[in-house]
């Protein structure tokens, strides 16, 4: 058990070092841009993992929260001249609060009804983004959103943003991981596995569901804001139900409950459309088929229990001649 943890840490450190040096070696702007998008969507996938995978709340309308964070920060910085650092943070808090309110309204909803509400909420947000023209500029979207900046320094190149996004991803990853390993994370998992037993263990289930939804939405909102500061344009067409399902699949593909899995799933689903333009058109079909195949063969995702990750892990063990009782991938 001890050896595994150290190995896991070594791999993480290697990956981070690799990520730090990557843009110095690969100078292709397009490639860096794709990786930037991957970094941002990874945080979304992590937040989905926190809500859906850890706490078992099936949210199929995540994109709405990205939009909320995006528009909040865009409106603050473009229309009110609020500096980036402030608008970014406020966008996150705002989205977290909306998450708390929605969570509060649904606190007594059972699993299926919660999902229906999130779908409805997604549609409502989209309609609001498109039609509240005085606030959001409607179909025109909001332009000339400033690049992330503080103290006069602008992260306005792909490479500078790369490091900003990488730092953001690492920070979010560490925070979410720590939440998962704490009493909070255990309470979330207990609610997922058996809400009644959780209640009888002294957990105020309604309260913790609201907290979970709120924290997850905070991260989603921050990412949504970061996205539009990167592209410098906020469009109401980016926060559809299709987007939500695509984002959900990023977390599912890698394995709900597995944080590295979220990164892997996101990478696959962000990189593939870039590799093949025609894939982009068929991406929803692909995702649909992928969902069915995954449910049949790897129901816990690639890095979840009985997934590809475990198969590789156990193959390596067989090769090294070790016998181990009950392997579990984290």
């Amino acid at each position: 058990m001890n050896i595994d943890i150290k190995k896991g840490n070594k791999i993480s450190i290697l990956v981070v070092i690799f990520a730090i040096f990557l843009p110095l070696v690969v100078k292709n702007e397009y490639f860096i841009r794709v990786i930037n998008v991957f970094f941002l969507y990874s945080v979304v996938a992590l937040s989905i993992n926190l809500i859906v995978g850890i706490c078992g709340l099936l949210d199929m309308g995540r994109a709405a929260f990205m939009g909320l964070g995006a528009y909040c920060s865009a409106i603050l910085s473009v229309k009110l001249g609020v500096p980036f650092v402030l608008s970014f943070i406020i966008a996150g808090i705002f989205t977290g609060l909306v998450g708390a309110i929605l969570g509060f309204l649904c606190r007594k909803s059972t699993f299926d009804y919660l999902t229906l509400v999130t779908i409805g909420f997604n549609v409502i947000c989209q309609v609001v983004f498109l039609n509240w023209i005085s606030l959001t500029n409607g179909t025109m979207g909001i332009r000339k959103i400033p690049s992330p900046n503080f103290g006069g320094f602008y992260f306005d190149t792909n490479i500078s943003f790369y490091y900003f996004a990488l730092a953001f991803l690492l920070l979010c990853y560490v925070i979410i991981k720590r939440i998962c390993k704490s009493k909070l994370g255990r309470a979330f998992e207990a609610i997922r596995d058996d809400p009644i037993a959780a209640e009888y263990a002294g957990i105020n289930v309604e309260f913790y569901k609201i907290i979970n939804f709120s924290i997850g939405s905070l991260f989603t909102g921050l990412t949504g804001a970061l996205f539009v500061h990167y592209t410098q344009y906020a469009s109401p067409y980016n926060y559809t139900l299709d987007e939500s399902i695509y984002q959900l699949q990023m977390a599912i593909l890698g394995g709900l409950g597995s944080l590295p899995g979220s990164l892997l799933g996101t990478f696959i689903l962000v990189a593939l459309p870039e590799i093949s333009r025609s894939f982009y058109e068929y991406r929803l079909l692909f995702v649909g088929i992928l969902m069915v195949v995954m449910m049949l063969y790897y129901p816990n995702g690639l890095l979840g229990k009985s997934g590809v990750g475990e198969k590789i892990f156990s193959l390596r063990e067989k090769f090294e001649g070790h016998q181990k009782a009950g392997g579990k991938c984290e």
């Binding site: 009493k183 596995d193 009644i196 959780a198 009888y200 263990a201 002294g202 289930v205």
Partner: protein
């Protein structure tokens, strides 16, 4: 406790003394589990009051009642199947572990003092219940008997004043049942008052100080085991009228 026209628990008036083992028996559908559900706040009673240690707890939510010192197990074992045995125990200690929020964010999880204290406690309880070898196993993968033990261990870990066991021997063979009896007696030594719902007559007669009998939602008898054994109404409830041939089998 009325559900529409069905009186699931009809004016059941029971008083349990501190430190005793109190049994509740009755045919299936008598309202025993419903009684537990009402007691613990899972259902809000349509009429009547519940008192615990002198305080009224009638309309409080479950997690609040639990925090007052009441624990329970379930007829169909309720474990956190995807979590490890140790984590199940740590969830059981939810009310006793209080890490500071800034610690959660800023410190390495392995170094937080509250967490390691909790883990130590959880491990020692697992040892007491003979489950320490399975500490890192996924709870859902345990054999049935161990699952039941884990559920009881989890209910015991926060040192409740009252523990409710709902048909703990369901699905067990005779030797497992004897182990269970020993376990319940061991639990009693740790302090709590115990209320047990059971169908297994040997078990309930063997461990209870007093027993209440429910049928069709009503309490039809209450007393010490030897009285209950011979109570005509109780025998009728289980075996039906005009059939005295099985009286001796209790």
């Amino acid at each position: 406790m009325h559900f529409g026209g069905v009186k699931a628990v009809d004016e059941v008036d029971i008083s349990v003394n501190e430190g005793e083992i109190f049994g509740i028996i009755g045919p299936n559908g008598a309202g025993k589990s419903t009684f537990f559900n009402v007691l613990t706040g899972f259902y809000k009673p349509t009429s009547g009051n519940i008192y615990f240690l002198g305080n009224e707890i009638t309309k409080r939510p479950v997690h609040e009642i639990v925090s007052l010192g009441i624990s329970r197990t379930f007829q169909n074992i309720r474990l956190f199947d995807q979590m490890s045995v140790l984590d199940n125990m740590l969830v059981g200690m939810h009310l006793k572990i209080h890490p500071k929020f800034n610690h959660i964010l800023l410190m390495n999880p392995n170094k937080i003092a509250e967490e390691s204290k909790g883990r130590k406690e959880a491990k020692s309880v697992l040892e007491m219940f003979n489950l320490i070898d399975a500490a890192n196993s996924v709870a859902g993968s345990l054999p049935y008997g161990k699952k039941r033990r884990l559920e009881i261990a989890r209910a015991m870990i926060c040192k409740p004043k009252l523990i409710l066991l709902d048909e703990p021997s369901a699905g067990m063979n005779p030797s497992e049942t004897i182990e269970l009896m020993k376990l319940i007696i061991k639990i009693r030594e740790l302090g709590p008052t115990i209320i047990v719902i059971e169908h297994n007559m040997k078990l309930i007669m063997g461990i209870s100080d007093r027993i209440a009998v429910l049928n069709f939602g009503k309490k039809i008898a209450e007393g010490i085991p030897t009285e209950i054994k011979c109570n005509k109404q109780v025998i009728e409830a289980y075996l039906g009228r005009e059939d005295d041939s099985n009286v001796g089998n209790f």
